[in-house]
Symmetry: C2
Subunit: 455 residues, 2 copies
């Protein structure tokens, strides 16, 4: 075995040609998503007014294990993939840990994150269907940026509803999207019925992800030739993001490395789900075992403190209902929460895996996250996104445990992206003005008590 | 020969173990740099109060062709190098050109540019000499960021004098430096004699690179255990940056590609000089021939409209004099100029190669540069730095010429970095408020007439 390089890059011909659909290997599948009107499981036909047809099929397909990645998408992937699996030699030395730490780095593209993996797939299917454009929402801005890049590549119109507080705090994110030709509207806006209603009910509101989703869905369904696309939560998105896990698995095998612990941050679950899919597949088929840890912010703790129940995916309640770990569709993390990972729910696949005990979850507070981020940046030379830094925090914690026990564990984590557009949050941390917030049980109960009655 | 991949990554063991010093192959060497007091060629002893000893030696060494890269530096290089040589398939298709376009992408690291290649070397030698810290200046902020990363890695104090207008326009660049533990001071400051003098003479001035250099040099020479480091212009910097050209040359050879045209942007000349060094070496040894084009902004046209003469490297006239293409040490590009490439002079190596006719130069206006940047971003998926986009502009021009002539030229250009901290300039371009400025002959003459009399 040759010495493991700092960065393992696969060859182009080692890149996946198929996505992996972990639902196919799950004996107990994620619960079906329900029509918001009838509360019956949705059909492809129910979804096609909102989603592209091919994506609607992928959303509901829980039996096909491998789905071909169309050549046009693979060509685009080749522009920025394979992404490196990095051996964190410098971090290991800094921590003086016997653990071997690896991270799959998805930030080496202009969108700055893994979101591009699904954005290009969704744009491709929209183009193939002959659509004029797509609508979406964005919070921290990574997804909107990724989608604007993907749409520009295929010549599609791209309309982004950006949560108003992000729109105002992150003018440069918006400018990247504009450079890629997207139209960016602060949400809630006066363009949509739901936006006007929310503005009337909550004058001066700075918006939320759930509300921006409602606006984008309305915009898609009221314009000819448009569909709605979403950057996380959905099973189709986890399918596309499996490219992360497949590359990781191939890279580890190439060097004969067996992962012990796999760690990912979890907001809607797209990165975590994509990273762990092939590994969970091995577990489901009884071929291997892994410790898998989902890391979420203490200020938005859907897995660790939410309920596993049917809930609306958006604040406006126009989207289907999914059974998931949720804090309630009107939950919004406290204003001092920096970065993404602010969704009230969680991917139904990740939720079901968590419920089956195949993955663990841990919540961490943001000052400790930025401390880990700074440590990491200084030794590994990459300034991480706040979201990704949740995984760094737990990877460091686990590596320090190995220091005590002497275990030479192989720890693999997902470094989803870079923090270049999050310097406002870093400034707060550098200035010592960043604070933590953990919602009380009473606060959470207020939202959880309003969950829809389905069963 | 296998099909050329989208991205050519070298293996770690193919990375250079020595830098290449092009001066060793030059029959007519760059003119010696002169002591500002005596106007005699400087010695290593003259330089060591300002520079680290090893760097002073490298600065004056014009005979040793290969200089070993210390292992500690190679270990750091492995964190973000080898950088990919990318085949611009998508840009070629967009332009419908028969030319094959390649770019060496140096932006996949948190400093966002090639500057880290020299920063880590300079920090290493400072550490090795037992220094406490280093001082420097930064304009657009790439160099300061790179140096702060390098110093953080080796545990050195890092004091950055940042041109005041950049300090104010780019708060996030500053924040990245702070995250890496650097002290960032807007220049001209009240910390130094030269800063106080400039502030008194020009109240309200927003500073210049030449002035920030003077401040940083004064800070280095008046604090125990500090030296001054510089991110471009110097021959030592070009030496370190030869890693760009060496990797490019190895990658091209690996796939049997012979470059026809090599293009780089030129401010102080570090990226261009580093990229072209091995190729110029082949030309100097009569082994091959290349068309080499240096691209500079029309608003700061040192090669295309400057004089080849001895001049001060800084506004405060505390640094040695170099023979170079210069616009005069008090020249400052017009306020509407975006990004870097704003230095009044040019590397003495690049200047001498240009004077000998081995390289050509071309100046381009910034709106055309941002137009090229946007085209590139939309098809190649990387949002380029304004500096790098000067090279993109000329690469596109050359590829379009090939479209007319039908030539299948191999065009290689240096993509020095990303523009994530330059969105203010992109906004101006997107809003249509960006303007061009070409200084008149009379304006240039005003500065050129004040060049020091040396010969």
């Amino acid at each position: 075995m040759s010495k493991i390089p700092y960065k393992i890059y696969l060859e182009e011909n080692e890149m996946p040609k198929e996505w992996y659909n972990v639902r196919a290997d799950m004996k107990k599948k994620p619960a079906p998503i329900l029509h918001p009107g009838t509360l019956k499981p949705v059909t492809v036909e129910d979804l096609t007014p909102i989603f592209c047809e091919e994506l609607a099929k992928q959303e509901l397909d829980d039996t096909t294990p491998y789905i071909e990645i169309p050549e046009e998408i693979r060509n685009f992937y080749r522009m920025y993939r394979p992404s490196p699996l990095v051996r964190a030699y410098c971090l290991e030395e800094k921590l003086q840990t016997p653990a071997h730490i690896y991270y799959k780095f998805e930030g080496n593209n202009t969108s700055g994150s893994h979101k591009l993996n699904s954005a290009i797939a969704q744009a491709y299917y929209a183009k193939k269907q002959g659509l004029k454009g797509v609508t979406t929402e964005t919070g921290a801005g990574q997804w909107g940026t990724a989608l604007s890049m993907a749409c520009s590549y295929f010549g599609l119109d791209c309309q982004v509803y950006m949560v108003k507080c992000s729109y105002e705090q992150k003018p440069f994110r918006r400018e990247v999207m504009r450079t890629y030709g997207a139209q960016v509207t602060p949400s809630p806006s006066m363009n949509t019925n739901v936006g006007r209603k929310i503005n009337a009910e909550f004058p001066g509101t700075t918006g939320s992800l759930g509300c921006a989703i409602s606006e984008a869905v309305e915009a898609a369904t009221t314009q000819e030739g448009y569909r709605y696309v979403l950057g996380s939560v959905l099973s189709q998105v986890l399918l596309h993001q499996s490219v992360i896990g497949l590359e990781t698995s191939t890279a580890l095998k190439k060097y004969g490395i067996k992962a012990d612990t796999i760690i990912g941050c979890a907001g809607g679950g797209s990165n975590l789900g994509g990273l762990i899919s092939p590994f969970v597949g091995e577990m489901l088929r009884g071929e291997a075992n892994y410790e898998i840890i989902a890391v979420e912010p203490a200020s938005c703790p859907s897995l660790t403190r939410g309920k596993y129940a049917y809930d609306f995916c958006d604040t406006g309640k126009v989207c289907p209902l999914a059974k998931m770990y949720t804090l309630g569709s009107s939950f919004i993390p406290s204003a001092n929460h920096a970065g993404g990972l602010r969704y009230h729910g969680m991917s139904s696949i990740v939720s079901e895996l968590y419920d089956q005990g195949l993955i663990k979850a841990r919540s961490v507070e943001q000052t400790s996250v930025f401390e880990a981020a700074t440590t990491f940046a200084r030794v590994e030379g990459i300034l991480p996104a706040p979201e990704s830094s949740h995984a760094i925090k737990v990877a460091i914690d686990e590596a320090l445990k190995c220091k005590e026990t002497g275990e030479e564990k192989n720890i693999v984590f997902g470094l989803t992206g870079t923090g270049y557009f999050d310097m406002y949050a870093y400034k707060n941390y550098n200035d010592g003005t960043m604070s933590d917030y953990i919602p009380t049980d009473a606060e959470l109960e207020k939202y959880l008590s309003t969950l829809p009655k389905v069963d």
